[in-house]
Symmetry: C2
Subunit: 343 residues, 2 copies
């Protein structure tokens, strides 16, 4: 049985969970949901040696030390770490991983490193179903069961049923207007595109050759000029920098023909805002999610978190209060998307 | 013309404006309303050399250095600073000041050091009227024009008109129930007791002899055993500690017969809570009172103040947010009296 090679993408910039996340420590490297970071949880999610090969991490040179240290903390020493010379979005990043894979038959499970998944059984079951399709040369995208008419996500429209509840993809719908999002939610045959994919390295590279040859060419040239330092791979900077910047969705998935989706309801969150973190946090009886040096009196429904100075909250409701370093943020729940403008 | 001797009482403990005020730096020593501290503003309020003698400060030993430094900042080097060995409330403190005064004829203007007064002309006019009565051996209390049915203050019931709009005091009403406060406000002949007094040292000491002889005796004994170090006077600790603890209101004013009040509307605030400070603060067009390292987006009606780390507030309304040292407080306006329990 072929094992799966996890590919962990770690390119997030960390402005939406300011002041905790910062460019030098974006959110995947923070212990936001527990004692481990989301990067560590992502790697561990696909670490059963009976099912998975050692992982390929694609990340920024700026985070190389952080990644080695965080992998060591969870006992992972055999990862291949591909350091992008610059950010060129997901299509070039995944091309690097596919080229770094052992052979074209390798099954790549591509995962963003900054998403939370609460139901690991559901994740593993979906992965098993996706693997069967990938072995049959489908490019598989995980279809997250939507929980609301979100307008910030891409949607996957399910086409004909293939097997085991999996569908061919009819089309992708990028960030829809509210009305369209509600229609798709009501129809029940649309899923969120969470950016989790499973495919053979060769299948993906073949589709890149067809639909994004410039990206593939740049990736191949940069891998050819690659330098290796232990587990660290450094593709050639000039060659990689010449690549167009594009997402895997635009560059490949929306154009490829043999694309399938595995619907999955696995307690997924992109932790894309403080509001999202409040939703998945463990609340006390008053609905407060409290972390760190925090005390409250008669407060309800707040997310309050400090990594430094003490926060004392009295009688406040439905606020997000975050202290980190020399910064403290206060914003009502529901407005945390405005945080980006401050970071 | 006899000049007035200002007596500045500085015994506040500083729990209600936590985290900014602390026992080592209670609110009178903080620049809460501008660039000068309330202690400095109080001294300067009665510093016109054509009207006032040099002041007598009654304060805690713990704040001696702070007081000397803050007086030096405003160019006052001739104050007499009486350092209480322990806190025994206002009656013993004022007794010390009366005994430290140059002679029994001295006119003492007793002022708490932690109140704000916005209309200085009104204050000076009231002082001139009170002086006339004090010279006629009345104990005069300033009657603050009430602006609402506050239940946290003592009230003065005006009796017969004496002169210039001043009245004999019919009675004192300690912290009334809400209904009574509303009745008094509606009647228009009740004033807040702001703890500002004007009387001859001798008049006051005579009344103490009648109504609070134990306090007077302890004060006299402690002044007898006093040590002097430049402008600092240190009454004998054992003798002063033996004094009963009582307020001037209970010990003397409520019992004395020849007590008058000068009604005055002078923008007075006891700055007894963050809500009170919000009320007297200079607000921007969105009703925010912002001080220090603070930025806001779409916020309205807040008091936000930082003496240290940066506060970023987005979209919040009617909150009090205060950062000082390693503490940050968040409480809705109207609930700031609960801060005491945290300090």
């Amino acid at each position: 049985m072929t094992k799966i090679t996890p590919v962990v993408l770690s390119g997030g910039s960390g402005t939406r969970l300011w002041p905790l996340s910062t460019p030098t420590r974006p959110k995947q490297f923070l212990p936001l949901t527990g004692s481990l970071t989301m990067f560590q949880l992502t790697v561990m999610r696909a670490s059963d040696p009976s099912l998975y090969e050692s992982p390929i991490i694609v990340a920024s040179e700026a985070h190389a030390e952080l990644i080695v240290a965080q992998l060591a903390e969870i006992g992972v020493t055999d990862a291949t770490i591909v350091l992008e010379p610059c950010a060129r979005n997901t299509a070039p990043a995944i091309a690097l991983a596919a080229l770094a894979a052992s052979n074209p038959e390798a099954l790549l499970l591509v995962m963003p490193s900054d998403h939370a998944i609460l139901d690991l059984d559901a994740f593993q079951q979906a992965t098993a179903l996706a693997k069967k399709l990938a072995e049959d040369d489908w490019l598989v995208t995980f279809g997250i069961a939507p929980t609301g008419p979100e307008t910030g996500y891409g949607y996957i429209a399910a086409g004909p049923l293939l097997q085991d509840g999996c569908h061919a993809v009819a089309s992708f719908v990028e960030k829809p207007a509210r009305e369209l999002a509600e229609t798709m939610l009501a129809k029940g045959d649309h899923f969120w595109n969470g950016g989790i994919f499973l495919f053979r390295a060769g299948s993906f590279l073949d589709e890149m050759q067809l639909h994004a040859p410039e990206i593939l060419e740049a990736a191949m040239a940069s891998v050819e000029g690659c330098s290796r330092q232990g587990q660290l791979l450094r593709p050639d900077a000039a060659a990689f920098t010449a690549s167009p910047s594009d997402s895997i969705d635009y560059a490949v998935m929306e154009k490829a023909v043999r694309v399938a989706t595995v619907p999955v309801d696995m307690g997924w969150s992109d932790v894309g805002s403080w509001d999202a973190l409040k939703e998945i946090g463990l609340a006390d009886l008053s609905g407060n999610v409290l972390t760190g040096n925090v005390r409250q009196i008669e407060a309800q429904g707040n997310l309050i978190r400090s990594d430094g100075i003490r926060i004392s909250a009295i009688g406040v409701e439905n606020l997000i209060i975050v202290a980190a370093g020399n910064e403290v943020l206060i914003v009502p729940r529901g407005q945390s998307q405005k945080v980006k403008s401050l970071a």
